[in-house]
Amino acid sequence: MPTPIHRDDVGQMLAEGAQLVDVLPADEYAAEHLAGAVSIPLKTLDATTTTGLDRDRPVIVYCWDYQ
């Protein structure tokens, strides 16, 4: 089960090598996203679009808010 994390954890985990994935639509990612995030919109999330992610490192996903 995915682990919910807090803002402070994000910074710490990124410093330790975690990967950050923005799952919002591509145009929203282009407008603004967390520094260092890659874009994989939820609608496109599959085995092909995730090939760029390293399975040996933690992956943090985020969208706009709690929705």
């Binding site: 995915p2 603004e32 967390l34 933690p58 969208c63």
Partner: protein, 163 residues
């Protein structure tokens, strides 16, 4: 959306998946680093004055008044021990009897905005409601400062002249 994405990643056999559930809205509200084409739009944070005087619920109004005048402000923000905004003392309330407390004269629960609020729409709302200043807090209610509409309008004018 992110819980579904996190679960989908697990179904794709990613074993260490974490969900930043508060998301981009939370990140922006704390003015943390971002990238993209819209990052240069003016926001409330940079024009927020952080030197606004603060007081506690039990402070005497005479002390609050002295503090406000010494600081050259027209209001004082009432906060708790964690800096969470509880109220605002301004205007006629500041001129009340000295033996009253901030709690007795404050306006409780003032309207607040976050530091990432885009200035253009914020200024428009402030004009529509004839508001000359507004309290800026983090999402958890901790005081950042006070934004004056004149400061925000000046910042927007600067933006227009540089385009």
């Amino acid at each position: 959306m992110s819980p579904r994405a996190a679960s989908r990643l697990e179904s794709l056999r990613f074993s260490r998946v974490f969900d930043y559930v508060a998301g981009e809205a939370d990140w922006l509200a704390f003015a943390l680093p971002t990238e993209g084409t819209k990052t240069d739009q003016p926001r409330a944070g940079p024009v927020t004055r952080v030197d606004v005087p603060t007081c506690r619920l039990t402070d005497w109004l005479s002390d609050v008044r002295d503090k406000v005048r010494a600081a050259g402000w027209e209001s004082c923000i009432v906060v708790n021990e964690r800096g969470v905004v509880l109220g605002r003392v301004r205007g006629d309330a500041l001129e009340g009897h000295s033996a009253r407390t901030a709690e007795e004269v404050m306006r409780a629960g003032p309207a607040t905005v976050r530091p990432n609020e885009p200035l253009g729409s914020l200024v428009q709302r402030m004009r529509n409601r004839n508001v000359d200043s507004i309290v800026v807090t983090t999402p958890d209610g901790v005081l950042v400062g006070v934004l004056r509409r004149t400061d925000a309008e000046r910042r927007l004018e600067q933006q227009e002249t540089t385009i």
